[in-house]
Symmetry: C2
Subunit: 139 residues, 2 copies
């Protein structure tokens, strides 16, 4: 299902459907923790031991360019990737590298409403994403 969706998306964007691309996308989806390239490579190599590191980076870049993955901003000099491309926010753990997605339509509505009235001078807003830093209380 996710798989078919992804294959279809690749075709629509004029990208070839390769096992590497599918595996990399599935890795990000299945890991589900905003993995780094390294984590993705580790995961894929279990079933796909010969994939080249350069390929992973190239595929990640092209999937980001084609809006099938998103880069996640963070304080470290390691890039992280998110398979959720719909609008959402992020919960950042202040003590670890854990990052979780956070969706909140009501909040989005509130903020959008706010910026309908209050314009930012000389700036046209395209997207607003919250970085919510704090502590996770479970595991």
């Amino acid at each position: 299902m996710t798989n078919d969706f992804f294959r279809e998306q690749l075709k629509q964007k004029g990208l070839k459907v390769t096992p590497q691309r599918v595996a990399i996308y599935e890795a990000v989806v299945n890991l589900n923790n905003h993995p780094t390239a390294e984590k993705i490579i580790d995961y894929i190599r279990r079933n796909h031991p010969n994939i080249a590191i350069g390929t992973v980076y190239k595929v990640l870049d092209s999937l980001v360019d084609n809006n099938l993955l998103k880069k996640v901003k963070n304080d470290k000099d390691i890039m992280r990737y998110d398979a959720v491309v719909s609008h959402h926010h992020h919960l950042y753990c202040s003590e670890t590298d854990r990052i979780e997605d956070y969706e909140d339509e009501l909040l989005d509505k509130l903020i959008n409403e706010y910026f309908k009235n209050k314009k930012i001078e000389k700036f046209e807003i395209q997207d607003i994403t919250l970085q919510i830093t704090g502590k996770f209380n479970n595991n």
Copy 2:
């Protein structure tokens, strides 16, 4: 003034007041565009040609640890630094690497109010920062 404030801060934190630290802090303040380490080095070397790159990285790290500078999250694998440590948000240009500070107490109040009622499950919020992406209309 900024200078004296900074020297005083260093003393209070038990850090030695060195010309390198002052120069690096001043560079971030004066550049005022969330510079990378490289931009900071370029700026400092005009007046301080012998400063070592490693020193700049070490000083930046220690100033961040001591809350005299902040790291700015971004999509690139280059870290950027901000001399504004008070609570504020960021405007990201969707077309360039430009980043500007954005302060909005009313908005902060609105969002804090919202999260007083709506708790995020198993998460204790410490800070909320907005990444506002869009287009700058001037220069």
